[in-house]
Symmetry: C2
Subunit: 386 residues, 2 copies
């Protein structure tokens, strides 16, 4: 589709979403930007401080990632948005010439910063690094994302932790809607850049629906669901996705923020989600946990100490096929950087393979089989089938 | 050359050193083992705990390294030599199918372990990791190096810190000679493996000469100079090399252990050294220091914060050519693993390039020009010439 032309849309005339196939609730498609296409469902590796931790950018690309995520909160503190802009933008800075989506900073202001003060205008907070005072408003967040040169920019929102009272969820949802309007208005950017709205409303179906309906009228180029995977059971998360989905525009990408485990991804894809980001594969890798098609494997466990088998001999990722479990255990036990490098690589490869498998399955109308077979693999407890 | 056949030499019939060219005191050559050739002068990246820290093994190879070093002390403690052997040897364990040289453990027993007790038989010590008691003797050191599958094994020796008294240097040198005999006798290994002796004697010319002469009669496949770069000025180290060199067999490789800076390498090559190992490029990289042909650059320094220039645009290492100094500064400032990965890569690339440049210059009879031009580059203070 192309967006109906309006003055505000002119800047994004090269941003398109094409729905390629549906299979039950799942869909596969393609987002096109001047930087290239993003095949959906897509997993976006998180590049918090302008680096996908423990990975060379070329490796991330080779695994099949079309887009990575940058965090406004971290980047505004170090090295600073104006500095990144003067250095030629975030793509050049981190040597990643492909698509970048930036969050708005709202989530991490709430989770990381000190001495927050939230009002209608925005959030005043102290840096968790040096205590310096900063202000984030919808306008400043969009300005920062523009300075970074982000291809897909997110509205500034307030994300509450679950569980929370309905009053609190209602207040934060309405504030986020007002901030959505201000964000969309402030969104400038160059042709080809996009701005996404974020559905809030806690675990309250009526609030979620209202948020989705109002945002859908606001001329965003994509719709995100925020405020999930923040402490609630998976069932609640999936119920909220099911509640919201009928009210999201079909002709725009659907992005589930901050999610999740491989199981979360498959279940959310089954319900119509197109995009994901999560620190899980990278963070878990640094802590010795490997995601494979035979399930999770904790390499810190002493049972691997003499195991000559690779994590997955059939994997296309050398980290999974060319190193023994005994060696990976040894590296983690010794705190060696290579252990973190290899397991991060393995995990991001698995996440990308999972999304590639889902896309192919949806395109061929066999997503249910794919979902069942994938789940059966995870039941193997880390061991290849006998 | 091939070694004169004797019973003990049969095991190494495939280990050869060929002197290809001389230029002043400098020489270039080639060591051949069943695993491949080692072009000399050679820098051996240190793979302490079965990993060249923060590098994939394939990267190390691509930089031109023909051989890496493994540390007996670290590997005997974790994961254990018998375990590595059961897993197929160190080459397979660390996914490095090329040559491996192992030290004997003697140096690190002295520098790292607790509660050492040294006697004629060997050293009893406690692990710095868990306090467990271990014993290293010449026989056990050679057994461990054999279990690891090392291609070039080092005699067990005692290395004293400088400065030290002549009495102490004399005692340690004579003990090391007795241990050399025991090591050479215990050296078994398969065809193609080699065993090197180590010249000791502190900063005492007469002791060094005596050590070199006695060791030269012992049928070692190569000769190392140990106990240097242990606290003494560079001039003392170079004087000791000059003292020893006339007494080393010309037809065997000369290995200067634990050295050093790029300047140490060039000066030692000029005096006839063929092989080096040192943690400097890898350790310095993890701490933000880059070695380039324009000199050392400390990326932690705030002066790089807005510098869009790469470390060396003409380098063949992407770490040096594809990332700005501002970005590298940012990564080090944030403690990002990618910063350590990139700078380790840059430094090992520079060390390998330096050795490749020396080899080519020696072969073409222009080593003095190379040495002068290389030094002139280092005077640039990190800046390319205007």
């Amino acid at each position: 589709m192309r967006f109906q032309k309006s003055e505000s849309d002119l800047v994004s005339e090269n941003f398109q979403y094409k729905l390629l196939a549906r299979d039950g609730g799942a869909r596969c498609g393609e987002i096109s930007t001047p930087r290239g296409s993003i095949r959906t469902p897509a997993f976006m590796p998180v590049g918090t401080a302008a680096t996908v931790k423990a990975m060379y950018p070329g490796q991330v690309r080779e695994l099949g990632a079309d887009v990575v995520l940058g965090n406004v909160y971290h980047l505004m503190l170090r090295p600073g948005a104006e500095r990144v802009s003067a250095l030629g933008g975030l793509h050049k800075f981190m040597n990643w010439p492909h698509n970048i989506l930036t969050d708005s900073g709202g989530f991490q202001v709430m989770s990381l910063s000190k001495l927050r003060k939230l009002d209608e205008n925005g959030v005043t907070f102290q840096s968790h690094i040096d205590g310096a005072k900063h202000v984030l408003t919808p306008e400043r967040s969009m300005e920062i994302q523009g300075l970074l040169g982000s291809d897909i920019q997110m509205q500034f929102d307030e994300c509450v932790k679950l569980p929370c009272s309905k009053e609190e969820a209602d207040r934060a949802m309405r504030l986020s809607l007002r901030w959505a309007e201000r964000s969309r208005k402030a969104f400038g950017g160059e042709a080809g850049r996009a701005c996404f709205g974020i559905v809030q409303g806690g675990a309250e179906p009526d609030l979620r629906i209202e948020s989705a309906k109002v945002l859908s009228q606001m001329d965003f180029h994509g719709m995100a669901i925020g405020g999930l995977a923040v402490g609630e059971p998976q069932a609640v998360m999936l119920a909220m996705i099911e509640t919201v989905m009928p009210h999201l525009p079909e002709d725009r990408p659907h992005y589930l923020m901050g999610v999740g485990s491989p199981d979360d991804l498959i279940e959310a894809v089954a319900r119509g989600i197109d995009m994901f980001d999560c620190v899980m594969p990278t963070r878990a890798g640094r802590h010795g946990l490997a995601y494979t098609r035979w399930g999770k494997i904790n390499l810190r466990n002493a049972r691997h100490i003499d195991d000559p088998r690779p994590l997955d001999a059939s994997s296309s990722c050398p980290g999974a096929s060319d190193y023994s479990r005994a060696y990976l255990h040894h590296l983690m036990r010794c705190g060696e950087i290579l252990g973190m490098m290899l397991l991060t690589w393995v995990n991001l490869a698995y996440y990308q393979d999972l999304m590639a498998g889902a896309r192919a399955a949806i395109a061929e109308g066999r997503f249910e089989d794919f979902r069942r077979e994938t789940r059966a693999g995870w039941e193997q407890g880390g061991e290849p089938p006998a």
